[in-house]
Amino acid sequence: MDLSKLKPGKIARIVGLEGGHGFKRNLRIKGIKEGKNIKIIARQPVGGPLVVEVEGMQTVIGRGMARKIFVEEL
């Protein structure tokens, strides 16, 4: 499942990233990397961005980008 479908408060493991090289690098240097646990802290309404937490650091990420991050709920 992709990250945008994860419910707020739930924790999942990142299993894959989809997209170009630059895009993937951009995610990884902000800590969104395969093998990490990710939690949805907040979800803004009407297609707004998600606030996620990886290893204690929060990041805000657009819904479209979130759809390219694949996770497995734990």
């Binding site: 240097i29 902000k30 803004q44 961005p49 980008m65």
Partner: protein
């Protein structure tokens, strides 16, 4: 080779501070150089580089605070600046946020491949313990083969060691790795040197969560902004009405008129210095003398609000609240072809449009920068202008002020929505780290507020006085009548204003606050004042902002932007006239 060039080549050693955004580079910079620079808790606030001088063992060296970047492949203009500067450095101090060790390492690994001497400052070392993180510095030093110095920039811990070990900086012989290989290496390093103890959410993290969840975050944001606004207005008005205005009217006014009258009892010189009397009396807001209105406008009407605004902005910045606002407004800003980070240029722009324009660099694409800069120039009045609008419209009631600002907000949304559709290019989504809340340091906040206020005093006040002087020249030379006649079709025919308002339009290029002040002696009705002050906000940026915008957008885009400004001014002005003046 010219002599100058040679000197530069041979000249001082260049030390570059590089690191991800928001890792504490600016604080380290001021520690090293003793210079005051503005730091804030928002990723990407150092959009331009800052230079300073430091001493290492008696020898002088240039230190450059490079804009934050996460990798050497830039994603926005601020990062481009960073990568370009890399080539010029002799030594790189790579500032690493120890609490975000793993993701910061990518840039470090990239820097180590660059054939340039590197030393690492492992900053935020105080926070590491709170977060239950442990990093084995010795082992890390061995693995990276460059000096690693733990630092706490805010207290100065470790900075001495950093300086004394600067010449140990080295360029380890590493063969370039592919991106995947780099990530593997980072994984290995982290596994070996870092241990993280699991711990529960702290109080500040729970607050952090509440401020980004829409259900709680939006009400909190409204309350916070309302309180900030109330604070500025209440204290500002108190200081003006109880302290500054009485001082000017009761003491300064009689004193200065006395002095000037002693050598110029009447005539041109008298009028330029103390201005025209209104009903036989000096009126600080309307007389327009250099020594009366020229000082009253900046110091009494504007300065209190500017100071309070910067104090509040600095507080919100240092606490780390701005990124949360960016999250909450992102959905709306996305409809305008922007994303949440554009709120930074609005917030800074409300203080002064110049830093607001510079901060558009944190946006990724040309389209976003164009839209946010154009909206800034049209719809975001600076604090000086806002204070004057409050000053001249407040006396007729808050409703009139509301009309001006509602018009501007509405215009921001509408115009953004239209530009998003019409302007080619991409509008990427918001993707940004949200720094933790931090307890602001009072001294840092005071220093930052003072630096901004000082730049208002040094860079704006002389132009206010020049503006008042120009007003005098316009009237004395009779140029005002000529200009009035030229602009009459627009002013009288289209906007329903008297033709003397032409003076305000002209002076508005220089200073918006003086221009708004010029409306007062014209005897306009409250609604005419509303139309005129809205026009002054929209039609064109002040000259300082204009110059910065040309640099940021390029001449071609700036021409486009100006065409938009002028046409919007005409359309909105005509509409306001119909709606508000009913003629």
């Amino acid at each position: 080779m010219s002599l100058k060039h040679k000197n530069e080549k041979k000249g001082l050693k260049k030390i570059l501070l590089m690191g991800n955004p928001n890792v504490g580079k600016s604080v380290i910079f001021s520690r090293l150089t003793g210079a005051n620079v503005i730091c804030s808790n928002y990723p990407g606030t150092t959009v331009d580089f800052t230079k300073g001088i430091m001493r290492i063992k008696g020898e002088r060296a240039n230190v450059i605070d490079v804009p934050g970047t996460c990798s050497l492949e830039p994603v926005n203009k601020a990062e481009e600046v960073a990568v370009k500067m890399l080539k010029e450095g002799d030594i790189i101090i790579n500032v690493v946020d120890a609490t975000n060790f793993e993701r910061n390492l990518y840039l470090t690994i990239e820097l180590l491949e660059q054939n340039i001497r590197v030393i690492v400052a492992l900053n935020m070392w105080d926070d590491v313990k709170h977060k239950g993180i442990n990093i084995d510095v010795k082992e890390l030093e061995k693995m990276l083969n460059v000096p690693i110095i733990p630092t706490v920039a805010v207290t100065g811990e470790g900075i001495k060691t950093l300086v004394s070990r600067l010449d140990e900086a080295k360029s380890p012989d590493v063969k370039p790795k592919s991106e995947e290989e780099k990530w593997i290496e980072i994984g290995e390093i982290v596994k070996k040197v870092q241990t993280v103890k699991h711990r529960h959410h702290t109080f500040s993290e729970r607050i952090s969560d509440a401020t980004v969840k829409p259900v709680t975050g939006i009400p909190i944001a409204i309350i916070v902004l309302f309180l900030v606004f109330q604070f500025i207005i209440t204290i500002g008005n108190f200081v003006i009405e109880e302290i500054l205005d009485p001082f000017f009217c009761n003491y300064y006014g009689p004193w200065i008129t006395g002095i000037v009258s002693s050598f110029a009892p009447s005539g041109t010189l008298h009028d330029i210095l103390v201005g025209q009397f209104v009903e036989g009396e000096l009126d600080f807001a309307q007389s327009f003398g250099l020594l009366t209105t020229g000082l009253y406008v900046p110091f009494v009407m504007v300065l209190p609000f500017v100071t309070l605004f910067y104090l509040m902005l600095g507080l919100l910045e240092d606490v780390g609240y701005l990124p949360r606002i960016a999250v909450l407004v992102d959905t709306i800003f996305h409809r305008l072809g922007l994303h949440g980070s554009a709120i930074v240029s609005v917030m800074l722009g409300l203080g002064c449009n110049v830093p607001g324009a510079l901060s558009t660099r944190i946006l990724e694409t040309r389209k976003q920068r164009f839209i946010s800069a154009t909206l800034l120039a049209i719809c975001v009045p600076c604090m000086a202008q806002t204070a004057m609008i409050f000053g001249i419209l407040g006396r007729y009631g808050a409703g009139y002020i509301m009309i001006v600002f509602s018009t501007l907000i509405l215009l921001y949304l509408l115009l953004g929505f239209i530009m998003k559709k019409l302007i080619k290019g991409e509008s990427p989504e918001l993707f940004m780290e949200i720094p933790p809340y931090r307890k602001p340091s009072l001294t840092a906040l005071m220093k930052k507020t003072w630096m901004r206020v000082r730049s208002f005093l040094v860079e704006a006040v002389p132009f206010v006085i020049l503006g008042v002087f120009i007003v005098n020249i316009l009237y004395i030379s009779g140029a005002i009548d000529i200009l009035g006649n030229i602009f009459a079709p627009v002013l009288v025919g289209w906007l329903g204003l008297p033709k003397e308002a032409a003076g305000a339009l002209i002076v508005g290029f220089l200073r918006k606050d003086v221009a708004v002040g010029m409306l007062l002696p014209l005897g306009l009705s409250p609604m005419q004042l509303v139309v005129a002050s809205t026009m002054l906000a929209i039609y064109f940026p002040c000259i300082a902002t204009f110059v910065v915008l040309i640099r940021e957008l390029g001449v071609k885009d700036m021409i486009k932007s100006c065409i938009i400004m002028l046409s919007v001014a005409l359309i909105v002005g005509g509409a306001l006239r119909l709606i508000l003046l009913g003629v």
